[in-house]
């Protein structure tokens, strides 16, 4: 099967089953989707709808039980652990709900962690500048607010100039004003680095800033919508 050249991700009949027999939980029930290069995509859906499972598979954190998953035409559904490590190292940036910064490293050093192993990173300070935290580069996580910590996490994710930026509930632990600043940082990163960006959120309002919105329900893609115009984060209804 050939995939269109402009496609970043492409899945066909992607399934994920946890457990066996009667206890089996079908997290993904044959997902078919295509995400073009450079787009900002928002995944919406209730808890347990399969969106995090999909994101984990797209990011190489987890492997599928069945079906096909391609990144830029490269089949990754059968990839072993070290190939997935290599894939994450060279192509993927992650942002999580709980930041996952190293408390023993300063903001800049947290970014250095990634720039030191990436093939073509931007300078760490530039990445921090992109999220508006250049002047706090020597602060430790304990000295930063939640929103600042999340922006450091974004800087860390974009510093490697990732081909894809995957964000799981990046604003889940933040108040609305801080959340908007974080979303602005993600949008800027998407625009300036051209990374294909996938954001999971519970907040339907966030969907308006995306190029494309994917609605998940019961482990499958329920609905897909294209926004004619992206709304800037500052104008989102929270």
């Amino acid at each position: 099967m050939s995939s269109s050249p402009q496609s970043c991700f492409e899945t066909r009949g992607l399934t994920k089953v946890y457990g066996e027999g009667d206890a089996a939980v079908h997290a993904l029930r044959g997902v078919d989707l295509q995400i073009p290069e450079g787009e900002l995509v928002v995944l919406l859906g209730p808890s347990g709808s399969g969106k995090s499972t999909l994101l984990n598979i797209l990011g190489g954190l987890d492997s599928a039980s069945g079906g096909s998953f391609r990144f830029r035409g490269e089949e990754l559904s059968e990839a072993n652990t070290s190939r997935l490590t290599h894939y994450r190292r060279n192509h993927v940036g992650f942002v999580f709900q709980f930041y996952n910064l190293m408390p023993s490293l300063t903001a800049e050093e947290n970014v250095d962690l990634v720039t030191e192993i990436a093939p073509d990173p931007m300078p760490s300070l530039e990445a921090l500048d992109l999220v508006g935290l250049a002047e706090r580069s020597h602060h430790f996580p304990a000295q930063l607010s939640g929103g600042e910590q999340q922006r450091v996490a974004i800087a860390r994710a974009i510093a490697k100039r990732p081909d894809v930026l995957l964000c799981d509930e990046p604003t889940g632990a933040l108040d609305s004003a801080t959340g908007i600043r974080v979303l602005r940082a993600l949008l800027d990163a998407n625009e300036r680095t051209g990374s294909t960006t996938v954001i999971i959120t519970h907040n339907a309002g966030v969907a308006d800033m995306a190029d494309r919105v994917l609605f998940f329900r019961d482990g499958d893609l329920h609905e897909e919508r294209r926004n004619a115009q992206r709304v800037p984060p500052e104008s989102l209804t929270w």
Binding site: T85, R89, F94, M102, S104, N110, L113, A118, A142
Partner: protein
């Protein structure tokens, strides 16, 4: 789990979840408790057995040898203030010709009073009966010798006593408090085949040794509180006209000196070892409980929110460590008793008591339990304090990230040459310095124990090499019944198989320097002696100017005398004379004390002409049979000391009992290293699982992630190596000083291989622990770790 309170169920599940760590801690506790029970129990058993044995069999307080004193002196001795019981007796040496053994056995022959039990130094008959005064050939034989030769009442022994061949009949087998550690004079390690004690009736022995109506030793028991020194002084004055070399107390009685030195070693070790284990256990409990409390912070908040009191929560965690402590205590008690029985069996080989049972009394157990309780609860209470103080509202909010900004290590961020992973390792250490420091100390303690334990082997090897192969290079020492003219030496030099021979002169003397006084045998050896050399600490021969005294360093220290100073020498046998002699050399001797001078100078001093007391021989082993046959039959020969055999016996002891003890200590030290390193790695892993998972998500390889985790313990282990080695050197030095006795001194020598072995053990344990946790990194579930809030 039905019937258990919910909190107790939680406790059981917690324990199941931390089984490995709990066991590692329990093992360290078990190590401390078993050593404590072993040493306290063994010290108690030995000293109690000794006390009872000495009391029941009226062990003497003072021995007063003389050449020949009339029995009429009894009344005068008995009248000395402080004397509770007195026995006069005859004591002499004999050579025994045992069937099936080519070497002659040396025997000490002691008289028993006729028609009654001795009032002092009674014997414990294990078989047969006491000799009948009417039958002069009847003897009772020392139990160990009887067993070594399968002797039983009715058997016969051929002996040479005072140059006369006699046939003796065994009528009984006995033990005596004087011969708990039964060795020939000048030996270190018992050889039951080669040394005998024979008890004969007073009449028989006096007759055989020309002591009719006389005695050559008085043994005395003192009144409680009587002054030993005063009694000895009076005795010495009273006995001086009869050729008395000087009375002595238990501190110079060979068997008791060995027993005391053994007890002293046990006490020294019991002061050092168990506290180290229990300190490490307390630290481990502390870090593990701190970790559990950190993980369960929210649960604690919840429990408190539900209305559980602070005390309920505190008790819950104390119960958790209580279980670990109990397991450690039970394991340690079992192990301690097993080791104690094993050690008692080892002691029974060398120390002959009618009974020796390892018994740790209930107070020892209670004390052990109390120490465990203090260590474990102390460690836990420090950690649980924070759980106790947590307010429910605060506890239920996740803890903020640890603040690394104020740690000393924050300044390292300026050093660009350090990569971020190494920086994480360093900052972790600087952020929690006391924990890192204690881990380091724990690992160092293990190395320290390993080094100081293996040091014994190094030291003993040097001791054997110096004493048996460098200083005293003869195979056999032959002593004559009394000093003879030089012709006697030439006869000895011509015995079959003798390759080289050197004469020696042996004179009992008293050395005085200021108020200090020591009783010792002054040995005269030829100039440039090759078989009995005087060496310095580097094992180089010492050239001493003739005419002066050569003293071993310990003797010089006891006399508080330095090189060139004058010492008063008083001969205590034969013609009494007092001379001032300069100390011309101070030498090293690890076994016994040495006072030597040049043979001719000694003879000149004594004005007795060119006489010798015996000879040192190097012999051709192929001709041993002929050699020993001749010596056994020679009328002038009083004793034959088999030096090369003694060296073999000593080495055998090293290989057997000491080898096993060292194996046990190495095992226990390893347990400390395992407990500290394994727990440290497990806890770091648990604490940093989230960071490690994040690194994996960021694309770090497993090896790179393992570095962040294991780098910390690797660094601490590396730092602990020199600290532990230095500690080991210090402890070994302390032990070599603390365990020095009149009998022997441990040379302070540690071979490089000892450090290498100690380091090797700890490094293997560190790598093993690392590999176990490394497998857990490989199995880290990235998704789950990241999705859950810590």
């Amino acid at each position: 789990m039905v019937g258990l309170k919910v909190l107790d169920r939680k406790l059981l599940r917690n324990l199941r979840g931390m089984a490995g760590q709990g066991l590692a801690i329990a093992l360290v506790i078990a190590g401390g408790i078993s050593l404590f029970l072993l040493m306290a129990g063994m010290t108690g058993s030995l000293s109690e057995t000794r006390r009872t044995y000495y009391e029941r069999y009226a062990f003497a307080d003072i021995w007063a040898p003389v050449v020949r004193a009339p029995e009429s002196l009894r009344a005068d001795i008995r009248a000395i203030d402080g004397v509770r019981a007195l026995e006069t007796r005859v004591r002499d040496a004999a050579l025994l010709d045992m069937p099936g053994m080519i070497e002659p056995a040396t025997a000490e022959v002691i008289s028993l009073p006729d028609h009654r039990a001795p009032r002092v130094n009674d014997v414990h008959l294990s078989e047969g009966r006491l000799p009948d005064p009417g039958h002069r050939s009847e003897v009772v034989v020392l139990d160990a010798f009887a067993r070594a030769h399968s002797l039983a009442p009715g058997d016969e022994i051929s002996a040479t006593l005072r140059g006369r061949r006699v046939e003796l009949e065994v009528v009984g087998v006995a033990l005596s408090p004087e011969h708990v550690y039964a060795i020939a004079p000048g030996q270190l390690v018992p050889d039951d085949r080669l040394f005998a004690v024979l008890w004969m009736s007073r009449d028989a022995l006096a007759h055989a040794t020309d002591q009719d109506g006389a005695f050559n030793e008085a043994v005395i028991r003192l009144m409680p509180g009587a002054s030993e020194d005063a009694v000895i002084d009076t005795l010495d004055r009273l006995l001086a006209p009869y050729g008395a070399p000087g009375a002595y107390g238990r501190d110079l009685q060979f068997s008791d000196v060995f027993l005391s030195s053994e007890l002293n070693q046990l006490v020294t070790m019991s002061r050092i070892l168990p506290p180290i284990f229990l300190f490490v256990a307390a630290f481990l409990v502390n870090v593990v409980i701190s970790r559990i409390i950190a993980v369960e912070r929210e649960q604690i908040g919840l429990l408190k929110a539900f209305g559980y009191s602070d005390l309920d929560v505190l008790t819950h965690y104390l119960k958790l460590v209580g279980v670990i402590g109990l397991v450690g205590l039970l394991l340690g008690s079992g192990l301690g008793i097993a080791l104690g029985r094993w050690m008692a069996a080892q002691y029974a080989q060398y120390f002959h008591f009618p009974f020796l049972i390892f018994r740790a009394d209930p107070t020892t157990f209670l004390l052990g339990a109390l120490i465990t309780l203090i260590a474990v609860l102390g460690g836990a209470a420090m950690a649980a304090r924070s759980a106790f103080r947590l307010r429910p509202a605060v506890a239920m909010v996740p803890a903020p990230p640890a603040d690394y900004s104020r740690a000393i290590g924050a300044s390292i961020s300026k050093l660009r040459l350090i990569d971020p992973q190494s920086r994480m390792v360093l900052r972790q250490l600087f952020r929690f310095p006391w924990r890192g420091g204690l881990t380091l100390l724990g690992v160092a303690a293990s190395i320290m124990l390993l080094v100081s334990t293996l040091f014994f082997l190094d030291s003993m090897q040097v001791m054997i090499d110096t004493h048996f192969y460098q200083a005293n290079r003869y195979d056999v020492a032959v002593s004559l019944v009394e000093p003879r003219e030089r012709r006697a030496f030439h006869e000895l030099a011509r015995v079959p198989g003798a390759l080289t021979a050197e004469p020696y002169r042996h004179v009992p003397v008293r050395l005085r320097h200021g108020p200090r006084e020591e009783t010792i045998a002054l040995i005269g050896v030829p100039r440039d002696a090759m078989l009995s050399r005087t060496l310095n600490a580097e094992n180089e021969p010492v050239e001493a100017p003739p005419g002066g005294l050569v003293l071993s360093a310990d003797l010089a220290a006891d006399l508080d005398v330095e090189l060139g100073e004058q010492v008063e020498v008083e001969t205590t046998q034969g013609r009494r004379m007092v001379r001032q002699l300069p100390v011309s050399a101070i030498i090293t001797s690890y076994i016994g004390s040495v006072a030597q001078m040049e043979l001719r100078a000694l003879n000149r001093l004594l004005e007795e002409g060119a006489v010798v007391s015996g000879a040192y021989l190097v012999v051709d082993p192929a001709q041993n049979l002929a050699l020993f046959e001749e010596l056994k039959a020679a009328p002038g020969v009083a004793g034959v000391a088999l030096h090369s055999l003694a060296a073999e016996n000593f080495k055998a002891i090293l290989d057997q009992s000491l080898g096993w003890s060292i194996f046990v200590y190495v095992l226990f030290s390893g347990m400390i290293a395992l407990g500290v390193i394994y727990n440290s790695v497990r806890i770091t892993f648990a604490e940093r699982a989230r960071e490690l998972a994040s690194l994996r998500v960021l694309g770090f390889k497993r090896g790179e992630v393992a570095y962040v985790l294991l780098g910390e313990i690797a660094l601490l282990t590396l730092l602990a190596l020199p600290v532990g080695c230095l500690g080991g050197i210090g402890l070994a030095f302390y032990l070599s000083e603390a365990m020095a006795s009149d009998v022997y001194r441990l040379p302070f020598v540690i071979h490089i291989s000892t450090f290498a072995a100690a380091i090797g053990v700890v490094v293997v344990i560190a790598i093993g622990s690392g590999l176990i946790v490394r497998r857990q990194i490989d199995r880290l579930n990235l998704v789950e770790v990241l999705k859950t809030r810590e």
